[in-house]
């Protein structure tokens, strides 16, 4: 190499480095204004309002048929049946961060898929996860990534070299506590909550100092003696709350004006026999609104009081500002596992509307306060209930598009379970559930291939679009098999999603018309996301044990 060439090379390095430096720190300001840098995807849901919406517009309904595969990234081994690839990648200034199950964090060149580094957390053999050794992704603040692990650690990792900065063991994996969510960053705090509602845990949502890992606040989703809501655990022995569940499987949302962070909570324990835990069992199956600085509860709404059907409120809260009955209002949209979708006032928690989005038989509607009118309960001989135990939706992200004003729900349509009531005893570290219900679709673990021989009356999968203003369903895209895929909407009026059939596809966001699809050869159990590098828009989706990245043919 000549001196001249070398200096040119150095100059290039300098320019690249300077560019990187200008963008190096992912400040909370940047996260708050994520819509101003649509080339990046800085949080689990793309913004703090939980929209899973990309402002990018290069890929359109007119050209989406020209999408082609750019690169794939294969996890290092064939996925175990329970090690679904559920992570949504982050992309920060051309670098992608994603998590291979269970807790292998990788940094990739987002344009080519080549790896910069990999960090594999050493997972305790004591870890036990009811429903999959999975992780849904990392959070970033400054130059630090945050990964919560299935053995109950929260780990801060240097985004440049993949080395841990601090590592806190927060909960005891031998008792069934685990983390599967992507943490939420609010200001200088990392907020997480545990999975483990099937192990008789006592759930919480807690905030940790991003620099040190020190706990700043904690809200117990199962209130203890003296805490508000404790009186909704009315067993004579006064012990049921200790194993009451209320996990936080999925990342919350944040409203900076109200300074409230919203979290969905999971089922009470034991799942399928409510007799040991009489009462409403707050704050299980609820949305809780917490002061982001103190963790103090501002309000709550319980979707499924005294749940016996495993209807976790394990969904991303979707925050939208739109007119409600003529007045501008801060709203929350929520498609719940229990088969109803809701409109709440997110300032006060007031119930505004609840409507079924699939066949629902466990409740017949709502009273004037928004309390569901429960119609069914598990019995010794079995009770047939719609929707099935896996729910009408689950952890898979919905989407909201401010352009169409529509709310997109990945849905399990007309599925059913038979619930049996059997005696249950709590034992530390063992599942605390009751008898597993029968289901018209398997819960979480279809075989590796997407074999589907079911009858139409067993139910089906769909992406549905609803107009929150009218409650009206605008369209439904039907799939023969059900879907564990999140939904992405874009500013060019596309909707991306997939399903168990092993397709990843694009729909017209206004009509639901299918415009493009790719066969990805394994089930999609993750949410799509979009990003751009050098003006070129990409769409990424994990399916099977592989990450696929698409862009328009050049």
């Amino acid at each position: 190499m000549t001196n001249g060439l070398r200096s040119t090379a150095w100059a290039l390095v300098f320019v690249v480095a300077a560019g990187a430096l200008a963008n190096a720190q992912v400040s909370f300001e940047r996260i708050l204004r994520a819509d101003q840098e649509p080339q990046n995807w800085l949080t689990y849901s793309g913004n703090l309002s939980g929209w899973r919406y990309s402002p990018l517009t290069q890929i359109t309904p007119a050209n989406v048929r020209n999408l082609e595969l750019q690169w794939v990234f294969q996890t290092r081994a064939p996925a175990e049946a329970n090690e679904k690839f559920e992570a949504t990648p982050l992309v920060v200034d051309g670098v992608m961060y994603t998590v291979l199950p269970p807790n292998h964090l990788v940094a990739l060149d987002a344009a080519t898929g080549r790896m910069f580094w990999i960090y594999s957390a050493a997972i305790s053999p004591l870890a036990r996860v009811c429903c999959g050794r999975v992780n849904r992704g990392v959070a970033i603040l400054g130059d630090t990534l945050f990964m919560a692990t299935i053995d109950g650690h929260l780990i801060a990792i240097d985004a440049k070299n993949g080395r841990p900065i601090w590592d806190k063991a927060l909960v005891d994996p031998a008792l069934g506590y685990s983390f599967t969510l992507s943490p939420l960053i609010v200001k200088d705090k990392v907020i997480v909550g545990p999975s483990g509602g099937e192990y008789g845990i006592r759930g919480f949502v807690a905030a940790f100092d991003a620099r040190t890992g020190a706990e700043v606040w904690r809200f117990n989703t199962i209130p203890g003696p003296g805490e508000p809501g404790h009186d909704t655990w009315t067993d004579a022995g006064k012990t049921a709350w200790k194993t009451g569940g209320g996990p936080a499987w999925v990342t919350g949302s944040y409203d900076p004006q109200l300074n409230l962070t919203y979290w969905g909570t999971g089922n009470p324990g034991p799942d399928w026999n409510g007799d040991p835990r009489p009462g409403d069992n707050l704050y299980t199956d609820s949305v809780i609104a917490l002061d982001a600085d103190t963790g103090r509860l501002k309000w709550h709404y319980q979707f499924t009081p005294h749940d016996e059907f495993d209807y976790d409120a394990t969904q991303v809260p979707v925050l939208v500002d739109m007119p409600w009955q003529g007045q501008p209002r801060k709203l929350m949209l929520w498609a719940n596992r229990n088969g109803f979708w809701y409109v709440l006032d997110r300032t006060t928690g007031q119930f505004l509307q609840g409507k079924p989005y699939t066949k629902v038989t466990w409740a017949t509607g709502f009273d004037e306060h928004g309390r569901p009118k429960r119609a069914l309960a598990p019995t010794q001989e079995g009770t047939l209930v719609y929707p099935n135990n896996q729910g009408a939706t689950n952890w898979y992200s919905p989407s909201y598009s401010p352009r169409t004003g529509l709310f997109y729900i990945p849905s399990w349509m007309d599925t059913f379970s038979r619930y049996f009531k059997v005696p249950v005893e709590y034992k530390e570290g063992s599942q605390f559930v009751g008898r597993f219900p029968t289901m018209s679709f398997p819960a979480l673990r279809p075989p590796a291939g997407a074999i589907n021989q079911r009858l139409p009356e067993d139910g089906y999968g769909a992406i549905q679009a609803f107009d929150p203003r009218t409650g009206e369903r605008k369209w439904e895209f039907k799939m023969v098999d059900v879907t564990d895929s999140g939904v992405l909407s874009t500013a060019s009026d596309l909707v991306f999603a997939g399903g168990r059939e092993g397709y990843f596809f694009a729909l017209d966001a206004r009509t639901g018309e299918p415009l493009w699809r790719a066969s990805v050869g394994g089930q999609v159990s993750a949410g799509p996301m979009s990003y751009a590098i050098d003006g070129r828009q990409y769409v990424a989706i994990a399916a099977g044990s592989v990450l696929f990245v698409y862009a328009l043919r050049q």
Binding site: E80, A81, N82, E83, I123, P125, L126, A127, R128, V129, C130, C131, G132, R133, A174, E198, V422, V424, K427, E428, G429, S430, Q431, V433, G434, R435, F436, T438, P442, A443, L444, R445, P447, A448, G449, A450, I451, N452, Q453, R454, L455, K478, M479, V480, D481, G499, E501, G502, Y503, R517
Partner: protein, 268 residues
């Protein structure tokens, strides 16, 4: 032949004491050292702890069929107890806080799962007939080999019966012979489609998704069709198999069942 004879005796012996579960468990348990109460408690533990991943029939994890004793790791009861208690590090199998006795009870249930689940002894259980006579009927008067395949011989249109003695409980075999349409398993359902150019294809549905259908057609071809090229499609609710209620005597049906339960695969 000797093996089959032992099996028949075993089933007949079990049949006499199978009602209710506890009594029946007694007969089964003696082979493995589990008491009926062990098996019953194991079943309860299984339903609450294991069925979520393994499924109620123990067959929802690819490569693992608990009811058939097909495990990825470990074969002895001791192996299985260890795996249940400690899990398999690096896999989806977590550790469980069972005592040794509880883990053993779960194994006790796994060892008896098919019989417990299918309720042999709770249905009206007739004696199992003579396998040799059953084979003669199967290949002759019953005309079963017109459609079924056994040990690599025969057509593939109907289910291959090489392992049917392992995979189907006895009452289900009887129901299949007497009322075939009532007991079709998902992978055996007949399917019919008509293409947009007017061609009718029938066969067994292997798989379908929102855009395509995979089928083994009546000429034993593996056919994949795009739904955009299909005018209509759907399951046929009646099985192509005839009922033998009126064409075979009760004794002949018993004999055919005797033959079927003797079919245990290539490497029994």
């Amino acid at each position: 032949m000797r093996r089959v004879a032992v099996l028949v005796v075993g089933l007949a012996a079990a049949a006499g004491t199978l009602l209710p579960l506890n009594d029946r468990g007694q007969a089964i348990a003696q082979d493995h050292g589990y008491t009926p109460a062990d098996i019953e408690n194991g079943a309860r533990l299984y339903q609450s702890t294991c069925a979520g991943c393994h499924g109620p029939a123990g067959d929802e994890i690819p490569g693992v069929e608990l009811a058939r004793g097909q495990f990825r790791r470990g074969t002895s009861d001791t192996d299985l107890i260890t795996i249940i208690k400690t899990g398999i590090p690096g896999t989806a199998m977590p550790p469980h806080s069972f005592s040794d006795q509880e883990a053993a009870q779960v194994v006790g249930y796994l060892r008896n799962m098919t019989m417990v689940r299918t309720g042999i002894g709770t249905a009206v259980l007739r004696g199992v007939g003579d396998p040799a006579r059953g084979q003669t009927i199967f290949e002759g008067k019953g005309r079963c080999t017109t459609c079924h395949r056994v040990y690599g011989r025969g057509p593939r249109l109907a289910p291959d019966l090489t392992e049917v003695g392992l995979t189907r409980p006895l009452p289900e075999l009887r129901d299949a012979l007497l009322d075939p349409s009532a007991t079709m398993r998902p992978g055996n359902r007949p399917f019919r489609l008509v293409t947009t150019d007017g061609r009718t294809v029938t066969g067994r549905l292997l798989n379908q998704d929102s855009f395509s259908i995979q089928i083994l057609d009546s000429d034993e071809r593996l056919v994949s069709v795009q739904k955009r090229n299909v005018r209509e499609h759907g399951f046929i609710s009646t099985s192509p198999m005839p009922s033998y209620r009126d064409t075979l005597t009760i004794q002949e049906v018993d004999d055919v069942i005797g033959y079927l339960v003797s079919l245990k695969g290539f490497n029994p």
